[in-house]
Subunit: 635 residues, 2 copies
């Protein structure tokens, strides 16, 4: 088969590929993170590239006339037929190193790192042992000598494994028979031996997100957090959302392995840089906890996720078998036990269980609603007596995906919008204070609220007539210009279109309908909720009044809302520090009832009612309806 | 670094090697099994090759003037300095496919395959399960569904692993939810799923010998043996005996891994050919048992064996952690539990434990002596109340190694010798009935007995004057010609030298001294022994009267001797078929007392006394001394 060279500019990275490979695949091989929401189906129009030199065949796909005129192709639909030079514009690249590691200071973090209900009781400990040197008369094996001393000096029944044993003879002698042994406290598993006085043990908490992966390194001997680090999940080159990834994993041979490796590579890079920074050897990290949604967990573990996507949506497992870092491929001590959070169901995963664990929902008398809004809106309602959960397909709009000028919450993203109700002039808050590049989730919510407040859209989201050059008609309906090309970072107008608004309304409607469905399942009303916990990175930028104004979140007093930040990571950290917390996590997942919203009509009725701003039933949003909003005729 | 091509003739196999590589290393790379008793030290003189073309540098080593004249070099001392063509003579090649699979019919096999004291109770079983198809309302995970059904229908608490889970979703659906699950009975471990009615389960028994590896395949559902297969251990290219191998494993980076891979490759080849022959998939083999000596077990498992060789001779472990085929690398179901027999000490290994288990030593009132003679003579003495064991370094003489014309018991080996006491003419029994190539262990013993009986050697093993052209003087002392070059397969005289005889006397003396040491440790005499079990392939060709005549074995009535064949393999087979047998094996190894012969003077005194034919104390060999042996003056 013919091989061609593809050179990617501006990075000047070249790879060899077979004839017939497309540019997206070549970029994946080159490690260049080109955006692809649809996973290479040619439908999302994100993977724009230019071909500077060489022969290609473009199969066609979702590419605007404008983009085509400017010389763009879709990478996934561009077949390489000779040596080519490809230019990847910044707009097509997934951002790097923009992952939010700390919750923003301006937001309230209502929770401590180790909740008061848990005490420091980590999964590993170090036993210092003084072994007697063997003689011809007392010639017990090295392993037996170690186990007997452990039993005698510490009362612990140790459990060895082959990997532990392989280098034991040399280590014992080099250490002069005085050693520190790192043990798993649950089952006496022997994890590491080092000369007495040198033993340390660390734990790795992993928030395995669809978009970003964040890890945290803890010193298990004192419970101190050493550092955090994060990056975008490299799986994104195979599709933005979990469904695209399941399709990639199950649609082609080797697809699942590619995704598994992409997640592992991301974790490895992040972890290595943390370990290097703090001078810690991988072998010293002797336990890990991973919290991710059900699909992400399947992908990391190389478990077939196919039937999660197909009715009746069945995961291979919710609760995982005992796992070690070695069998998963995590870049730490291969013997380290790894606690992967159990899921409740296909669309309420371990990240939610970690969040519920950390936020102590199931320990309180009060009724709490826990919400994590991403592509799916996952929510849990309950208290110490009962817990119910559901997931609604919110779509990726709040993550900036599927929106004309949507983007992630990174530098250049519009996170706040003000529209003068008289002049319709616009003021923008931009992350990083630079020129705007697009709108992130919080910016979109704010924009929607402000368009409504300015009377530019009506309760159904349709644009209203207005005398401003910012509102203009296109082939695809009306759009409103938030920033002119002259002001933006890329020289193009930043707009929000009718279709974007419909999209956002469907997203917010799905979340609110999910909340209502949970409440109705247990015959409760909105005002029964004592506390609403907003989890996830999205919450960090979210304005509650705006979210209430568009009908995304219930119209409850501001003091009932708590931002909990990255509860997935915090739950994973908690589990490293407390063995009881892990048992509680298992119990939580088993105990939580999952409401499948596609069964029956409840959700669909709620959803349809929620497709208004803020809602068909205005009485549900008393604080919003008090505002005087000009009503005008529909355009 | 320069790369050169080495071509091996007559097989015409070429490999690329770096400059500075020696021919033995190149042959190892090419998979050509050149003999090397010393493991490449240049001292054994076995790895003879000719260089037909190209530049080499010969460093020198143990090479006779004659061999040098004929153009031979030692492969291990021949450094490659250009593209070369090397000829490997048949005499330098390890034989292939000559491994004894069945005990010879002419010998008594006193033991049944499944001893009466055990009933069929294998480690695995198959459970046929009918799972209910999931629905939106009953959306348990695949794994949970399987576990719940197993619990309900069979009362078994199943234990899954990641590997089991990875493909489970697809298999369950392809099977239409009716499946056969293969389970480990000890702990409910799930090993395999297949459509209902297709489940089978097999076990692999491995006799992991230093020289040969033999495997046996059993159907665990009915206890039937399906087939056996064996071959020389590929580790032999790194040295004939365990000590050379420990030196190779610990003396250079990657040495241990090379030995591990060599053993695995041998097992894999043997196993694959068996599985292919009987149409069995590797995944259907769901349990294995391995019996080998302590060093061989360390090497297979990749465990550092360094300190077994150095005083005070400490193994990394005697009892192994729980093992699976996947972590060892055995070519069967990776989840299969693998039972590697525990050792008693560095030089009484799992092969002996397997033998003692199979021969029921520890279940009988009678006092039994179990002997396995190889490079080491390992022996166990005891009954149902106590067991003591020891190992004496017999040297490789009985395996044909270290003897001028020694060879393994394969086609062309002299296994029997008759010497006319008048004419000193010789009659030979040759394996395969072809022209002789050398002497194997039983031939050497017979030869020694017959030389003594013919009066050609005295009680110390020194040659006696005799009028025969067969007895001739060389620079290195006397030698006796057993076959003239015209009669032999290779055209050279086959001789036994003074040095060979001293060597054999040391070997037999060590074994007998070991037996005496065990007896004296428990204050018993030879006649207290009720039964002597001769284990191992060596026993198959051994003549008891000859062995007694030279003082190798005690002078006890023939009916007390039992040949048990390959008890290492039989013990491994037994453990596959009986869970109780495995527990008994563990108990046996713990219970057996090991007598370290290098402690104290007991062994050394016995050894010195045994360096005569048959012994200094003639009263220990009444049947031998009755024979009239002509005594003549020493040469």
């Amino acid at each position: 088969m013919n091989q061609y060279t593809v050179t990617f500019m501006p990075d000047n990275i070249a790879v060899q590929v077979d004839k017939g490979t497309n540019v997206l695949e070549a970029a994946q091989k080159a490690g260049i993170p080109i955006k692809s929401t649809c996973g290479g189906a040619g439908t999302c129009g994100r993977c724009l590239i230019k071909v500077k030199e060489g022969q290609i065949h473009f199969k066609g796909g979702h590419l605007s006339a404008e983009a085509r005129e400017e010389g763009y192709f879709l990478a996934c639909q561009t077949i390489i037929e000779g040596d080519v030079i490809v230019e990847v514009p910044p707009i097509s690249l997934l951002g790097k190193h923009q992952v939010l590691l700390q919750d923003k200071g301006r937001l309230q973090d209502g929770l401590a790192d180790l909740p008061a209900s848990y005490s420091l009781d980590p999964h590993c400990e170090i036993a210092t042992l003084h072994l007697k040197e063997p003689t011809l008369e007392e010639n017990n094996s090295d392993l037996n000598r170690l186990l007997m001393t452990l039993r005698k000096e510490k009362g612990v029944e140790g459990r060895a494994s082959l990997k532990f044993l392989q280098d034991l003879p040399e280590i014992l002698r080099q250490a002069g028979w005085h050693v520190d042994v790192t043990l798993a406290r649950a089952d006496g598993r022997l994890l590491k031996v080092s000369p007495a006085g040198t033993g340390r043990c660390f734990g790795l908490a992993v928030d395995l997100g669809t978009t970003t992966i964040v890890v945290s390194l803890l010193d298990l001997l004192n419970g101190r957090r050493i550092g955090r680090n994060g990056n975008y999940n490299r799986q994104a080159i195979y599709g933005d959302d979990v469904i695209s990834r399941v399709i990639h994993a199950t649609g082609q041979p080797g697809g699942l392995e590619e995704l598994r490796q992409a997640a592992l590579t991301t974790i490895s890079e992040i972890t290595s840089s943390l370990l290097n920074k703090y001078g810690i050897a991988p072998a010293e990290v002797t336990v890990a906890a991973v919290a991710g949604n059900t699909i992400m967990s399947h992908l990391l573990l190389g478990v077939n996720p196919k039937y999660i996507r197909l009715q009746p949506y069945i995961p291979a497992a919710n609760e995982w078998p005992d796992l070690t870092a070695g069998e998963i491929g995590l870049p730490i001590n291969p013997l380290a036990p790894v606690y992967v959070f159990p899921s409740v169901a296909s669309y309420v995963g371990g990240d939610i269980v970690a969040g519920v664990l950390f936020t102590r929902l199931a320990m309180e008398e009060n009724l709490t609603l826990f919400i994590d809004i991403g592509t799916n809106g996952e929510m849990v309602l309950g208290n110490k007596d009962w817990l119910i959960s559901c997931a609604c397909s919110a779509g990726p709009a709040f993550e900036g995906s599927g929106i004309t000028c949507g983007m992630r919450a990174m530098e250049g993203a519009i996170e706040g919008v003000n529209i003068d109700p008289q002049t319709f002039e616009v003021e923008l808050d931009i992350i990083g204070g630079c020129r705007p590049a697009g709108l992130c989730g919080s910016g979109l919510i704010d924009c929607l609220a402000k368009l409504r407040r300015a009377g530019l859209i009506d309760r159904t989201g349709n644009f209203q007539e207005a005398v401003t050059p910012r509102l203009r008609s296109t082939d695809e309906g009306y759009e409103f210009v938030l920033a002119w090309g002259a002001e933006s970072s890329h020289g193009k107008d930043i707009v929000i279109t009718s279709a974007d608004i419909k999209n956002l309304i469907r997203s917010k409607g799905a979340v609110f309908a999910g909340i209502q469905s949970l409440l109705k399942t247990v015959s409760l009303e909105l005002d029964a909720i004592d506390k609403i916990i907003i989890a996830g990175g999205f919450g960090n930028y979210l304005s509650i009044p705006n979210a209430v104004e568009i009908g995304l979140l219930p119209d409850l007093p501001a003091e009932k809302y708590v931002f909990a930040g990255n509860t997935s990571l915090k739950g994973a950290e908690l589990v490293l520090l407390s063995r009881q917390a892990w048992l509680d996590a298992l119990e939580l997942a088993r105990k939580m009832t999952y409401i499948e919203l596609s069964v029956g009509n409840l959700f669909m009725e709620e959803f349809v009612s929620a497709l208004f701003l803020p809602h068909t039933q205005l009485e549900l949003f008393p604080s919003v309806t008090e505002q005087t909003i000009p009503e005008r005729g529909e355009l």
